[in-house]
Symmetry: C2
Subunit: 118 residues, 2 copies
């Protein structure tokens, strides 16, 4: 008899952002939490970094993969830290480099926040 | 013979924001444009105002409908202006009041920007 467990087919832990913005008014706490994410994306350089990582092979990238955003590498690192602190990226050190990844739940949650349900 | 034209079933003009952020790196111009929207949503009070309007009956509200966001009415008006300037709201004066509305294309476009296509 196999001990293998059935893996969930869908990701159920999709709550880092907020309910659909057209469902009901956000509470003060929800707005405080969600605004942090939008503020982090509200900078052109950070938004480009976020899209470079989100669109990179396997959905992850290190600073060594980042190119052509018009700022120095220390500035890139600074912005990546801001995105991570806002809960938009996770990071993992492997050898010399830190790899950044956009959690799939973040994309799903942000998509959901703009999904008209009516 | 009827002169009635068939109405489009879906809204095709959904381009106020940006391509899916995990599709390809945004260009500098795309990032500049999209960051304006996220920056406008990156403030808790503005985010609450946005969700109050988006979730209000018929998707529109005037300042007279806004309640309980913890700031004065002139401050509410100031934030609504910022949201409008960012392309997130449209406004229309009817009688005494200005009515604000979230364009459906804005919600669809922002949802699309986070929609994983892979």
């Amino acid at each position: 008899m196999s001990k293998a467990k059935a893996l969930p087919l869908i990701e159920t832990d999709v709550q880092p952002c907020c309910p659909p913005l057209n469902e009901r008014p956000l509470t003060a706490d929800e707005a405080e939490q969600a605004a942090v994410m939008f503020k982090a994306l509200g900078d052109p350089v950070r938004l480009r970094l976020f899209s470079q990582i989100a669109s990179h092979t396997d959905g992850e990238a290190c600073v060594c993969d980042i190119s052509d955003v018009g700022v120095s590498q220390p500035t890139v690192s600074h912005h990546l830290k801001k995105l991570r602190e806002a809960g938009l990226l996770t990071s993992e050190r492997r050898g010399t480099w830190v790899y950044y990844r956009v959690a799939p739940s973040v994309m799903a949650s942000l998509a959901q926040s703009f999904s008209a349900s009516r």
